[in-house]
């Protein structure tokens, strides 16, 4: 037992070293001169989608397949944009308020929707999404109507102690670091919550709501909790982006953007925490890699999605997991001892 714990300790510390290297790499990435400003732009998009998709996964983990997540990003985005333009508040405050508004709306709507399970929950969230988009379109002067809002204020110039003045207006790199920080923060918080008692309760509810409530887990309470947590970070992702791009259009929060998030998630795999991260990076990279194919590029995306649908029911992250024994076998270490004994027995 003690030996096993010792091994686990080594493994964990190795893992921390790997994470440290990864974070150091991400910190240095803007200075490696890979494609310039456009590359930074793609990275910022990837970070935004990683936050949004990981938060969507939290909702999926509790057995709620929401297909209106872009609407909660939209609630964050519109709240933040309206507060910063109409009242002139600094985006640093309004971003947080946007995320909180998304969470409050999620608690209220989650309470209403908590009666509905499975496919009915999916449909009601889809309708919530399109109703939100139509509402923003018909908002007239206040929300900018169909055209959306333009000339939103950026993050401005801030004075950090020790780092000097950081000007968000002149380059994209400060936004890169802001999004990197928010992404890491989101991933850590979501991971901790998922590995806590609440996370276990979510998984129990997803497996069987009846059994879960029979052992004293309040289905309504924990489903609303998952929805609120997911939508808070969804709103966070949504409220930062318009200040970076300085424009906002209602079309970015309708049904198809929501479904895109679900694609990212299912592509990466819902069962694994790394699923959304892998899904977003791969699916965002494909169009960039196959840029030369021009209008034929979506065929590549579709083809790879087809592969995932039929041959990787657990998504791309699931592929890594199931390929692990083979990889270990190939490099001759950590091979499954049970399987070894079994094969020896067969030979005799």
């Amino acid at each position: 037992m003690s030996e096993k714990q010792g091994k686990m300790g080594v493994k964990t510390s190795k893992r921390y070293v790997a994470y440290a290297i990864l974070i150091a790499f991400l910190l240095l990435l803007p200075w490696l001169s890979l494609g310039g400003a456009y590359f930074i732009h793609v990275c910022i998009l990837i970070f935004t989608y990683v936050i949004a998709t990981s938060s969507l996964r939290t909702i999926f983990v509790s057995g709620q397949a929401s297909i209106g997540h872009a609407a909660f990003m939209g609630i964050g985005a519109y709240t933040s944009a309206l507060l910063s333009t109409k009242l002139g508040w600094t985006p640093w405050v309004t971003i947080l308020l946007g995320a909180i508004t998304a969470m409050v709306v999620a608690v209220l709507s989650g309470y209403l929707f908590s009666r509905l399970r499975a496919i009915y929950f999916s449909m009601v969230t889809a309708f919530f999404g399109v109703a939100f988009e139509a509402l923003m379109r018909s908002g007239g002067e206040f929300t900018g109507g169909k055209a959306g809002m333009v000339a939103l204020p950026g993050m401005g110039v801030i004075d950090l102690p020790g780092l000097g003045e950081i000007n968000f207006a002149t380059s994209k790199i400060p936004y890169y670091y802001l999004l990197l920080f928010l992404t890491l923060f989101t991933l850590i918080v979501l991971y901790r919550i998922e590995r806590s008692r609440s996370g276990m309760n979510w998984m129990a509810i997803a497996q069987s709501p009846l059994v879960a409530s029979s052992i004293g887990i309040s289905e309504t309470k924990f489903r609303i909790l998952a929805f609120a947590v997911g939508c808070f970070f969804g709103g966070l992702a949504g409220s930062v982006y318009p200040h970076y791009s300085s424009v906002l259009s209602p079309g970015s929060f309708s049904l198809m953007p929501s479904i895109n998030l679900v694609i990212f998630l299912l592509f990466g795999g819902t069962r694994f925490f790394a699923g959304p991260v892998i899904g977003v990076i791969v699916l965002m990279a494909i169009p960039e890699v196959f840029r030369s194919l021009k209008q034929y590029a979506p065929y590549i995306v579709g083809g790879i999605m087809l592969l995932v649908t039929f041959w990787m029911p657990q998504g791309l992250a699931g592929l890594f997991e199931s390929a692990k024994p083979w990889i270990f076998k190939m490099f001759g270490k950590g091979a499954n001892p049970v399987r070894k004994e079994f094969s020896n027995g067969m030979r005799k």
Partner: protein, 285 residues
């Protein structure tokens, strides 16, 4: 008076096309237990095939609509045989697969026909005067065709052996297969039939509105709205909910604009789902 009658005619045209699309969506949902998000895109593909046949080969519109219905029906059967059959009604995987269909069809439509403004030629041109009221012939013929089709499909489902098999599979797939019904074949037929209906709806709608590759999204939402208001498993209820939503879409934009009427229709659907998930005419879920 002129505006009033035209609004009524528009309402009936919209309702009948909505019902045509929603009937297919509901059929797939009851028989195969999947939410086919690609249904709206198949409707779009129907309109594009129609446009392509009419503009490139100079076919008369009615022949183009007929051929596009046959093409899309075969496509639907193909999708069941080589796609949905292997996905075992798993929500995540069928959702993925229908999104793959959307990607492929939209990209193909963009590449082959292109994004410029286009319209399917209508079956009949000109106007006619009935009891002193001027009506456009294309709207009237659209109504007539869709009503005939709806009657034919209702007859097919309620009275023929194949239709009864579909109803049996919709009630309980396992029990149906114990009775010797080939569930997969019935599912393939249902998907083919619903795709053909969507294609006809696309061809007819294509002569009323301008085509674009995203026209399926709005129609998909309308189809889901209809199914929710009617209640899943209620084919008769679709006609009532179709008339409600069709008239909402024909009347409200005059007063509060297109997006405003969308807010009303979608909020109504949310309300129905929250208060009465089985719909107005559906059975308990």
């Amino acid at each position: 008076m002129e505006i009033f009658t035209q609004t009524v005619v528009n309402g009936i045209v919209l309702s009948s096309i909505y019902i045509l699309v929603a009937l297919g969506f509901a059929l797939i949902f009851s028989v195969m237990q999947i939410l086919n998000f690609a249904h709206g895109t198949i409707y779009m593909a129907g309109a594009y095939v129609c446009y392509y046949l009419a503009s490139s080969f100079g076919l008369p519109p009615w022949a183009a609509i007929l051929i596009s219905a046959v093409v899309l029906a075969l496509f639907g059967v193909f999708l069941e045989r080589f796609g949905f059959r292997y996905l075992e009604n798993d929500f995540n995987r069928t959702l993925m697969f229908s999104l793959v269909i959307i990607v492929f069809l939209q990209t193909t439509a963009d590449i082959t026909v292109g994004p410029y403004v286009k319209r399917v030629p209508s079956v009949l041109h000109g106007v006619t005067t009935v009891a002193g009221i001027t009506l456009s012939k294309e709207r009237l013929i659209t109504c007539v065709i869709t009503v005939c089709l709806l009657l034919a499909v209702t007859f097919l489902i309620r009275k023929t052996a194949l239709g009864r098999q579909m109803l049996a599979v919709a009630q309980d797939g396992d029990a149906a297969s114990l009775q010797g019904i080939n569930v997969h074949r019935v599912a393939a037929f249902a998907l083919g039939l619903s795709s053909a209906l969507a294609a006809v709806a696309g061809g007819l709608m294509g002569s009323i509105i301008m085509l674009n590759t995203y026209m399926g999204d709005a129609m998909l939402l309308r189809a889901i709205t209809l199914v929710i208001i009617a209640g899943i498993g209620s084919l008769g209820g679709l006609f009532v909910s179709g008339l409600i939503v069709g008239f909402v879409d024909a009347v409200l934009p005059i007063f509060i604009g297109g997006s405003g009427s969308a807010v009303v229709a979608f909020s109504f659907a949310i309300l129905i789902l929250v208060i009465r998930p089985q719909g107005l005419f559906g059975h308990e879920i």
